[in-house]
């Protein structure tokens, strides 16, 4: 009986291993597919003609990606500036100050926030936030609106990672600090933040990776105009929304150029992950 039991466990383990392996392989399949479909774009046009060129009119054979790259970077940076510090403060509040009753409420609230699909955020932005902003800062859709919506989406991610980080701080460390009669502010500033700042940095990076890859919510509130924004409220287009808007309509070389946009995005995310990994490794040493 016990032998049979072991056998099933064995099968289960092997099965899971296989599934896991397939999953990790699928990333390479995606990457291979992207390179195969988008790489051609890189060969047939020069870098200066795409990455630093600002005219995107596929029907007239102009494929400049610079405004979209700028848009993606700006919107991610701005949303991090809005959500990053706030999520860190919220995590500290949650961990050290928050009364127990409010604690579970806050936790549930964050969980719900995390599980809302991005389209819902986008639609909410389009029918609630945009009409509020439109009379004050026409046209209402643009860099700022997209950043607000994105900030709301990445806030709980930061919050969760920061709380997880705070949980790893040994209590003795804090007690020792308190017994030295340090004020709460200096405990936070000189001990927690200084010794854990790399881990917090990783939390921020996670937020940026999420922001840069977000599509549907941004599509509905960013205005989608291909331009360098001349103000905080000017419409922009990001690499992701460019793909979503045009992919199903694109043929031939236009399609190739959109796959190249995807390749660029993966490149950005890869760089971000690389930074966070090397940083973590430094930290572990």
């Amino acid at each position: 009986m016990s032998l049979a039991h072991n056998k099933t466990e064995d099968y289960l383990f092997k099965g899971l291993l296989l599934v896991g392996l397939l999953f990790s392989l699928s990333i390479f399949v995606v990457l291979f597919f992207l390179i195969r479909s988008g790489g051609h774009f890189f060969i047939s046009t020069s870098i200066s003609e795409t990455l630093f060129f600002d005219q995107w009119f596929p029907s007239e054979q102009l494929f400049g990606l610079a405004p979209m790259i700028t848009g993606s970077l700006l919107v991610s940076a701005l949303s991090l500036a809005l959500a990053g510090p706030f999520s860190l403060i919220l995590a500290f509040f949650y961990f050290y100050i928050c009364p127990l009753k409010l604690k579970s409420a806050l936790n549930i609230f964050m969980d719900i926030f995390l599980s809302i699909p991005s389209v819902v955020f986008g639609l909410w932005g389009l029918v609630v936030v945009v009409p509020l902003l439109a009379p004050l800062f026409p046209p209402g859709q643009g860099l700022f609106t997209a950043s607000i919506i994105l900030a709301m989406m990445i806030l709980p991610i930061g919050f969760k990672t920061f709380v997880a980080t705070l949980q790893t701080i040994p209590n003795e460390c804090l007690l020792a600090a308190k017994s030295c009669n340090l004020s709460e502010w200096s405990v936070f500033k000189d001990i927690i933040f200084k010794s854990y700042k790399r881990k917090f940095f990783v939390g921020f990076l996670l937020q940026v990776t999420r922001a840069i890859g977000e599509t549907m919510a941004v599509l509905m509130v960013c205005g989608n105009i291909i331009q360098y924004p001349d103000s905080l409220f000017a419409p922009i287009r990001t690499l992701t929304t460019n793909i979503a808007l045009e992919m199903s309509y694109a043929t031939d070389f236009h399609r190739t150029s959109l796959f190249f946009c995807g390749l660029l995005l993966i490149g950005f995310i890869f760089i971000l992950l690389l930074i966070s990994r090397t940083d973590e490794m430094k930290y572990e040493k």
């Binding site: 389009l126 046209p139 509905m220 989608n224 105009i225 979503a244 309509y249």
Partner: protein, 265 residues
Amino acid sequence: MKYLLILALITFTQHSYAKKNQVLLTGSSTVAPIMLDIASEFEKLNPNSIIEVQTGGSTRGIIDIKRGLSQIGMISRALKPNENYLKHKTIAIDGLGVILHSANKVTKLTKQQIKDIYTREITNWKDLGWIDKPITVVHKAEGRSTLELFLSYLGLKNSQIKPHLIIGDNEQGIKTVTGNPYTIGYVSIGAANYNIKNKAPLKLVALDGVKANRANIINKSYPILRSLNLIYTGNLAEPSRKLLAFTAGPEALKVLERHYVISPQ
């Protein structure tokens, strides 16, 4: 393991059974909601069949037919000369309407005025006889057949248009215009009327003095008209052929009326 196999077998056989009576339609986001309603009427009368409708634009409709991914494609324009090897069936006539927020006092525009608005020669509503507020120009994303029709009406290239906002499908355009009283946009007249009926603060503008109503589409005096087509290749299987015939029937006619598009007969 055994159970897993049985489960897999069941789902597989069900799948292949469903395949026989399944019709997949892909294409234009203007035609899709109409076909979705026609399909549900069709399914009521043919309970064994499964009709699936996916949007993605006219270009996708054509690509999917070419690759054999769908049985019927939906396009909101006529076939181009290089696509003539495809067969088509016109299910409805629709117009392209210029839309404003219902709070807007402007009721009619000329072709030249629209041209000036979209190239930012006119940038303020006061130049059109309303209040002193900047105009927000809403345009469609590249590749949409609605956009191509609009451009050919104005006689402009896409790079000459200077929009403030770019939207994807009709629904997003309507939400954008209803959310901001100073915007101007263009969508399918059918889609616009459908939303007006559902109390959206929206109105259609008369073009060159011709109102965007049913009578003017039927007598073809409205300046921007287009046919909504279903496309297919070669010999259609049984359920697809039945569905195609069904689109000219009395049940389909009611659906067309509900969506404010005109039957081609």
